[in-house]
C-alpha cells in the first residue's frame, strides 16, 4: 500500500506529460493527415507523389527508428536543436499523420460522387464542396478508424521514454527501480494506460452516437 501512496502521485505526473504530448501530437498529426490527404487527391502528379513518398516512408519504418532519426539524426547537424519533448511530439505527429492521411483519403473517396456533383451544380467551388459537403460526411464515417489510430498513437508515446521524456512509462521505470516493487508499479502503470484508453473509447462512442442520430 505504501508504494501506491508514494509512487502514484509521481506516476500521475508522468501521465500528465503523456497526455500533454498526446493531445498536441494527435492534433498536429490529424491536421497533417488532412493536408496530405488533400495533396494525395489533388489533380497534380507531383503533389500526389510527395504525399505517397511521405506515407510510404512512415508506414515502412519502425516508430523507434523515426524517433531516433528525428531526435538524434536532425540534431546531429546542429542547425536546429530539438529538445526531447519537441522531438517526441514531432515524431508522434508525423507518424500518426501518415496513417491519418490514408484514413482521411479513404473516407473522402467513400462519399458518393453524386454529392460532389450536386454541390458543384449549385455553384459551390471545389473547396466549399469539400468543406461543407464531403468532409463532414467523411469524418462521420472515419470516426471509428480515427479513434483506433489515436489509441495506437497514445500507446506509441510510451516509446518516448527512451529519449528521456518523463512520461508515464519513464516514471514507471524510475519508480520500479527506486522501490523494487516491480510487479505493483508496472501493474499500476498498465491500469492507468488502460483507463485512459477506455475513457477515450467511451468519448469516441459518444461522439459517434450523436452523429448517428442524423
Amino acid at each position: 500500500m505504501d508504494v501506491i501512496s508514494t509512487s502514484l502521485p509521481i506516476l500521475l505526473q508522468g501521465l500528465k506529460v503523456t497526455l500533454y504530448i498526446f493531445v498536441i501530437a494527435i492534433t498536429l498529426g490529424f491536421l497533417l493527415g488532412l493536408v496530405v490527404a488533400l495533396l494525395k487527391l489533388a489533380p497534380f502528379k507531383i503533389l500526389n507523389w510527395i504525399a505517397k513518398i511521405y506515407v510510404d516512408a512512415i508506414r515502412g519504418t519502425p516508430f523507434i527508428v523515426q524517433l531516433f532519426f528525428i531526435y538524434f539524426g536532425i540534431n546531429s547537424f546542429h542547425i536546429i536543436s530539438l529538445n526531447n519533448t519537441t522531438a517526441g511530439i514531432v515524431t508522434v505527429a508525423i507518424n500518426a499523420g501518415a496513417y491519418f492521411t490514408e484514413i482521411i483519403r479513404a473516407g473522402i473517396q467513400s462519399i458518393d460522387k453524386g454529392q460532389t456533383e450536386a454541390a458543384r451544380s449549385l455553384g459551390l467551388t471545389g473547396s466549399q464542396t469539400m468543406r461543407y459537403v464531403i468532409l463532414p460526411q467523411a469524418f462521420r464515417r472515419m470516426l471509428p478508424t480515427i479513434t483506433n489510430q489515436s489509441i495506437i498513437s497514445l500507446k506509441d508515446t510510451s516509446l518516448l521514454s527512451v529519449i528521456g521524456i518523463a512520461d508515464l512509462t519513464q516514471q514507471g521505470q524510475i519508480q520500479a527501480s527506486a522501490t523494487f516493487e516491480v510487479f505493483k508499479i508496472w501493474l499500476i502503470v498498465g491500469v492507468i494506460y488502460f483507463i485512459i484508453i477506455y475513457l477515450l473509447s467511451i468519448l469516441a462512442n459518444f461522439v459517434e452516437r450523436r452523429f448517428e442520430l442524423r
Binding site: A118, A119, R120, S121, L122, G123, L124, T125, Q128
Partner: protein, 242 residues
C-alpha cells in the same frame, strides 16, 4: 432568344466518343425533353450543359457565356443553372432546410434568415412545409426529389436541368414530382428534361429531342414527333416505349 446554344459538341470518355457533333438551341422559357435509348448519351449531353462533364470539342454557350472557355468562372454560370438528379443527391448530414439554404448562404451571401424564409416558401410550393427540420434519410423518394428541386430553385436559376427525375421513384410518387415540374413549366422556367415519361414530354414539352448513338437523330414538337416520326430509329424506339 436562345439561352443555350450548343455547337458541334463532342464528348469522349477515353477513346470512346459518346457525343458526336451535337447541335442544339434552347430558347428562353422553353421546355425541351430529351428521349432515347439507354446509353445514347442523354445524361452526358445534359451534364455538358453545366460542364459537370469536361467538354471534348465544340462550344456550349449558356446565358451568354461560352463554358468551353477554360478562363470562364464556371461556378458563376452554374449558379444560373439548377440541376436535379435521378438519385436526388441530397446532403444526408443536413436537414431539409439546410440543404436548401446552403447554396444561397455560402454562394449568394444571402443572410440566414432571408435564405430560410425563401426555403420555407419553396418547401410550401413543393408541398413539404412540414419537413423543414427532417433529415433526407427520413423522407420518401418522391419527397427527396421535391426537396432536391427546391434546393436547385433556391439559387433562383434561369435554367433547370433534370436527368430522369422520376426514374428512381415508386410509381405512386411519380405524379407528385411531375406536378411540381409542370407548375414550374407554367411559371415560365426554361427546362431541359431527360425523361422516360412520354406522357410528360407530350403534355408539357414544347419540343422533344430524340437521341441515339451519340447523335440527335430528330427533334420536333411533341405531337409531331410522337405521331409522325421521320426516322426509322425514332420509329423503332417509340414503338417500344409508347
Amino acid at each position: 432568344m436562345s439561352i443555350i446554344t450548343v455547337k458541334n459538341l463532342r464528348k469522349s470518355f477515353g477513346k470512346v466518343e459518346v457525343l458526336k457533333d451535337i447541335n442544339a438551341e434552347i430558347k428562353e422559357k422553353e421546355v425541351v425533353c430529351i428521349i432515347g435509348p439507354s446509353g445514347s448519351g442523354k445524361s452526358t449531353f445534359l451534364r455538358c450543359l453545366n460542364r459537370l462533364e469536361d467538354i471534348s470539342g465544340g462550344h456550349v454557350v449558356v446565358d451568354g457565356h461560352d463554358i468551353t472557355d477554360k478562363n470562364i468562372n464556371i461556378n458563376k454560370v452554374r449558379q444560373e443553372v439548377g440541376m436535379v438528379f435521378q438519385s436526388f443527391n441530397l446532403f444526408p448530414h443536413k436537414t431539409v432546410l439546410e440543404n436548401i439554404t446552403l447554396g444561397p448562404v455560402k454562394i449568394r451571401n444571402t443572410s440566414k434568415e432571408e435564405a430560410e424564409k425563401i426555403a420555407l416558401e419553396l418547401l410550401e410550393k413543393v408541398g413539404l412545409s412540414e419537413k423543414a427540420g427532417s433529415y433526407p434519410g427520413e423522407l420518401s423518394g418522391g419527397q427527396k426529389q421535391r426537396v432536391a428541386i427546391a434546393r436547385a430553385l433556391a439559387m433562383n436559376p434561369k435554367i433547370m436541368l433534370f436527368d430522369e427525375p422520376t426514374s428512381a421513384l415508386d410509381p405512386e410518387m411519380v405524379g407528385d414530382v411531375l406536378e411540381v415540374m409542370k407548375q414550374l413549366a407554367k411559371e415560365g422556367m426554361t427546362m431541359v428534361v431527360v425523361t422516360h415519361e412520354m406522357g410528360f414530354a407530350r403534355e408539357v414539352g414544347d419540343r422533344v429531342i430524340f437521341m441515339d448513338g451519340g447523335y440527335i437523330v430528330e427533334e420536333n414538337e411533341p405531337n409531331e414527333l410522337f405521331n409522325n416520326p421521320q426516322h426509322n430509329r425514332t420509329k423503332a424506339f417509340l414503338s417500344k416505349v409508347l
